[in-house]
Subunit: 185 residues, 3 copies
């Protein structure tokens, strides 16, 4: 009887986990390596030069570089170099930097396109992880591709599941990145 409940429970858990994601890993492969990291984006707004870790560098016609554009920021290109931490605290000891760009790419909702690298440099991890993919920001959990890695992540590939862990005004957001490698070397 107990065993039966556990099986039902496991099934429901799996269902819950998969339905939370935009396009889940249907076959439920197990990662060969797994990491959860957070990164913190503080966007430059003309007044926070000391703290800002990212900056708008391109904007659509008529917009400027200190205020995200109208129409759900469509056409803004942001360059970032964000602190990576092991927990959700901006002031925790950084274990690396998230470097690259994101682009707002929809006029009637919040979505972005991401091309960036995690440069990890801690006692636990030395190496880089390269990401690429679409980010439908308002979906609770969304998947992007891990297209390669170097150092400890030499030739690795996988999937990163991103969740918005905090969003404060239009200056700060924090992403939780669940890094699942399915090809390890």
């Amino acid at each position: 009887m107990e065993a039966r409940y556990s099986i039902v429970f496991c099934f429901l858990m799996l269902l819950a986990l998969s339905s939370a994601s935009a396009f889940p890993n249907k076959k439920q492969y197990k990662p060969c390596k797994h990491l959860v990291l957070y990164f913190h984006d503080i966007i430059y707004n003309g007044k926070n030069a000391g703290n800002a870790t990212s900056a708008i560098v391109a904007a659509p016609d008529g917009a400027n570089l200190t205020v995200l554009a109208g129409q759900f920021h469509f056409g803004n290109v942001v360059v970032f170099n964000d602190r990576i931490t092991l927990d959700n605290n901006l002031h925790s000891k950084p274990v690396g930097r998230a470097q690259g760009l994101y682009i707002y790419d929809t006029k009637n909702t919040f979505t972005s396109w991401l091309g960036f690298t995690f440069v990890l440099n801690s006692t636990d991890h030395q190496g880089t992880i390269n990401f690429s993919g679409a980010d439908p920001i308002l979906v609770k959990s969304r998947d992007i591709s891990i297209v390669g890695g170097t150092g400890d992540f030499f030739m690795h590939r996988g999937i990163a599941t991103i969740m918005t862990d905090a969003f404060e005004g239009e200056v700060y957001f924090r992403l939780r990145v669940d890094i699942k490698f399915y090809e390890c070397w």
Copy 2:
């Protein structure tokens, strides 16, 4: 006699197929999954805000954001969010969106560099496909890399062969994308 002709015919067909492409798949591997899709790019020119699906967001010194730059648009960066359809009709029911950027990168001919994602959301396909590569626009058929995927395309890799299916003035173009996965999961 017949067999001989067939062999010659096959050989000629292969030759024709391969010579049409910039850098063909010489070993003729067979894809494990195959899709043909079209996407439609309508670039913002200052007057078509209602229809436009892409916008110039960066330009070289001296150029603006509503007219593609001189010198074969060298230095223009375009953010796009284009309709994807199963056939070449802009008004067919979309099966997803092509999101990302393209960059014009040559001063004396038309070439671009592409970084984008197909976000597919139809009864047939749920998932994303991530692309990266150089696009020598004037070559009839050119290959870019599929660097990863999610959902139905979990961890897939492959090659996409792109053909310009329509080109109307400097406002609309349509690309036929022949998606060939050689690593399926």
Copy 3:
């Protein structure tokens, strides 16, 4: 006695090779294909239109498109189409073009993020190689990912080790790219 010296020598060589790199390939896998190429970047500064092979197309607030921005060029986006040669001579016969973008992404040191393609078109190599990764410019040797290829490099993956081979003022630099494929088809 001799054999012993050779072993020690090999060990020291390996040590030297690996310590030179930011995040080395610890397991010392052997590439299935290996290429060394150079590419040459001449950035447009408002006066060298004839020679320039790259251009600043986006800049942070307050900067312009003919002078790299202050704060270690943070926020500059550069589109390039650079000559590729077999040796370190800018005037050697090109074997292809390096096309794509780089982004300066740190405020207090020189680092960049790279997304680009080698389009090779010589008697030896016909095909493209797609790269993505972080480039900590001041580190002697740094690794980025080869995320895919076409033509002769159909479906290849690997690691590229980049070294700055020359740096002349803020107009010219030359990178040595050691291309090591670990997945060949």
